[in-house]
Symmetry: C2
Subunit: 230 residues, 2 copies
């Protein structure tokens, strides 16, 4: 999308509403990721592992301010904007509370990865300034390497762990889809974003299908990197 | 202390050991502050309050890396160095688990303030480079203002709260002293730091007395700012 269409698109109230929704969903996602990671840090077997997870938690949280400012620039109140997403995200976390350190690690990597892939796909349909904010808020900064290292080492030591964690990965994917569908059903503006509008390309059903195929494939790649069956 | 004495002082093994102890105690203190604040964030009455406390948590955590690097520069392993302080700090937090949002806020402000005052006093006896690291790790960046605002407003609305929170402040002070004494008893190098050494000024008993008088006074000032009797 060329820079020049930026202002035009933002004058479209439906588009602006959808973008605020999207930014708010990502922001609340990062807040709840912060909370869960801070909780998971307690399960860490060593102080060094605890610090690594606490660092991940703060890294997620650091993005919130960026998203908040963009929501304010678009004339909305960030807290009011986030409220509609609390239930879905809180329920995702409630339904996927890790029962041990390794489930927590897999969840941090697989869950964040899924969310990031999904938002990156949507980012392609956004005005440039919002797209930059979204992409910046999804930066990983090497946390994946930590999780992969720890999970692979644990599986090498205890091969039976891989069956349990593979099931866990599938459950995370299932829960994420369930909650995403719930949000799509409740937030019309957000869903309409993918259907396009004046000045904006639409996603037809085939394109949506391809998008989900890409997300599923990237999920499978992550599971493979962990040494797990997708 | 002039810059030139920096190297000389660091060649003193007892001094180095004491400095590593001090940096490790501060670092573990910031880690456990992070954990407790992340926990307290759950008690927040609004999303905006939750974010304010999560921001405080990450702010504390951000200092850990600086302290870790200085410990490594001094040739020690940061995790091994922190281990001796876990019990005292964990017990401090166990004995002062806030029973509600306001106790959490008062604890964050009063507890951090006490620790910062104490470390700032000790910093005067350190080599310049270490002193800079310690001072940087104690920066507040406006969180106090948030706590003062919220606690004053709550007391204005419910004056009976002030009696309970005043008692709470005294208990925090008592627990902090108990654990500080415990650490002083266990860590000879750290205690010896205050007793001076070659090239370093010593604190006599009168000076230690004055130091505690200053710390107590600053504590009372904080309680007053909150609208509480010290």
């Amino acid at each position: 999308m060329p820079e020049s269409s930026d202002v035009g698109v933002l004058e479209d109230a439906a588009y602006r509403e959808a973008v605020v929704d999207l930014l708010a969903a990502i922001a609340y996602g990062e807040i709840s990721a912060f909370e869960r990671l801070a909780e998971d840090a307690k399960l860490a077997p060593t102080l060094s592992d605890k610090l690594a997870v606490a660092r991940m938690a703060c890294h997620e949280f650091a993005h919130v301010e960026l998203l908040q400012s963009r929501i304010e620039e678009l004339g909305a109140d960030p807290y009011a904007a986030m409220a509609p997403f609390q239930t879905a995200l809180d329920q995702f976390h409630e339904h996927t509370a890790p029962s041990d350190w390794y489930e927590g690690l897999v969840k941090a990597y697989v869950g964040d990865g899924l969310a990031a892939d999904f938002y990156r796909e949507i980012a392609a349909y956004l005005d440039p300034r919002t797209r930059d904010v979204v992409i910046a808020s999804l930066a990983d900064s090497g946390h994946s390497a930590f999780v992969i290292d720890r999970v692979q080492a644990a599986i090498a030591e205890n091969p039976r762990l891989s069956g349990r964690l593979a099931l866990w990965g599938r459950r995370l994917m299932g829960e994420a889809l369930t909650q995403a569908q719930r949000v799509a059903g409740e937030r019309d503006a957000l869903s309409a974003l993918l259907a396009g509008g004046v000045d904006r390309p639409a996603l037809d059903l085939a394109a949506i299908g391809r998008m989900f195929a890409r997300i599923t494939e990237l999920h499978a790649e992550r599971m493979t990197k962990l040494g797990l069956d997708a």
